[in-house]
Symmetry: C2
Subunit: 297 residues, 2 copies
């Protein structure tokens, strides 16, 4: 078992396959890094790359991909629906195993310094790596986008965290940070009344007094004629899956409704499953190194 971070850089190119391939090639080339997914969107003109690896290897892969993007993408020519400030728009690091959030913040700082120092691209730090509350949320950091930031960058409140207060002439600026792994989680109800799903969603949403790390909505799944609570678990350590599941079950019962199932959409870290088993089986002293497969990395 080894230290493992996930890194999900977003690049401002979703139309030219050869450019996307050249950028992802930089990730694949780095030993100790595994490319998990590449998702390009032509109308957004943007590509989201997901890879995991040992922290220093992940940092190197992120730097090399960012350097390649700064060569091949000219923000002066870039158009797309998605907000962006640079060729490499945003690079979050996410702790996966044996790594703390603090280490990911440190990694974001190291990478930010390198990008600013070696590539002359100004860097902003966001989310857990933010140095002021005003820069925690990505939309706040990205305000005005590439075009607006060209002049705004020189104002005192928009100075970058690393590098000169001047946009790179073609690559713009880059936002680097650290955040928790997001689990997309849906809970299906034995009702076709979407209002019940909405009420239950309100009971678990942070903004309505629910769980701190829970974003939720009630929606209708038309093809199953079924109401669903659709959830973003933005920190499964702070608000675990089982607690949200049990609360939804209990709130549903109040309407005479049952939970008929739940779905994890996309990836889930092993730790979230270990935590679930620990809760329900009331496990004492369990160590994830006891998971056989954990000894094979």
């Amino acid at each position: 078992m080894s230290k493992l971070v996930e890194c999900v850089p977003n690049f401002s190119e979703g139309r030219r396959p050869e450019v996307i391939a050249a950028i992802t090639e930089e990730v694949k080339k780095v030993a100790g890094v595994t490319l998990l997914n590449v998702n390009s969107d032509a109308s957004h003109n943007r590509t989201v790359v997901t890879f995991v690896g040992e922290p220093q290897a992940a940092k190197l892969a992120a730097f090399n991909a960012c350097a390649k993007a700064s060569e091949l993408i000219d923000m002066e020519q870039h158009q797309g629906e998605h907000p962006r400030v640079g060729a490499t728009d945003v690079i979050p690091f996410i702790p996966v195993s044996e790594v703390t959030m603090e280490e990911c913040v440190q990694l974001a700082n190291e990478l930010g310094q390198e990008i600013a120092g070696k590539l002359n691209i100004p860097v902003y730090l966001y989310e857990a790596a933010a140095k002021t509350p005003a820069r925690v949320k990505l939309p706040d950091v990205r305000k005005g986008e590439y075009e607006g930031l060209k002049t705004a960058i020189s104002s005192p409140e928009r100075q970058p965290d690393y590098g000169l207060a001047q946009m790179h002439p073609t690559a713009g600026a880059t936002v680097v940070g650290a955040r928790q792994f997001l689990i997309a989680y849906n809970i299906n109800l034995s009702t076709s009344d979407v209002n019940i799903a909405k009420k239950i969603a309100n009971s678990i949403r942070e903004v309505k007094g629910g769980y701190k790390y829970c974003r939720a909505m009630g929606v209708m799944i038309e093809d199953r004629n079924m109401a669903q609570v659709t959830i973003n678990m933005v920190d499964y350590n702070g608000t675990p899956l089982h607690r949200v599941f049990e609360t939804v079950k209990s709130e549903a019962a109040r309407y005479g409704v049952n939970v008929i199932g739940s779905e994890i959409v996309g990836m889930v870290p092993l730790q979230a499953l270990v935590d679930t088993a620990e809760f329900y089986l009331r496990l004492e002293g369990f160590d994830r190194k006891q998971v056989l497969e954990e000894n094979l990395r």
Copy 2:
């Protein structure tokens, strides 16, 4: 993610470190195999080696270790408390991931043929690989041990499955097979009355009408003044952890006793934790490839 089997060969040597090291070195040398544990017992004069790997790599490692043991261990000189029939006494293959029991049975047959053909050691197949019901249980196959089998091997009912009906002059015979992963699982009760633990154990034991793949006893954990149901889950696919846990909880309630915790002793395959989470979260359509770490092997 790749096909993965566990292999747990037992060697009739627990006293000479240089011999044990030479045997385990044969396992370490094979690419695609990871040595997990080596457990030697001097009074048993026996060493249990645990490794995992891709099926063909695991077979090669098992063969090479068996060949080395046949060079270095002389059964004519061997004494120890544990029953045994050969230098390499027993070699079970255990499916871990992406591998069926049938594939492990096939692997046992291939290995048995090689050991008999290349090393002139007669091979018996046991457990899931057994060709007759009389050879399913290891103690039945090992009846008479090394000394007794020297003459018994020529009787029709003791003919080996592979090789001549004649013991190797120093390495004896070897038992090869396939079985399920065994999970050692304890459930702790809020009582110091061991009779309650014994009654609950009886409710889940196969021999008393309980679960087919469940061996259980009620015991007293003196230092915690606590009764415990101690369980061997001999096939967690056939009888899953959660079902045993829930039954123990329900049977305990009948005595006014609570389950205060449970313990997994040693290794557990990831699949058993995935199954637990699937049950309790009522997961729909979950694929273990969604476990992030599964993409790194």
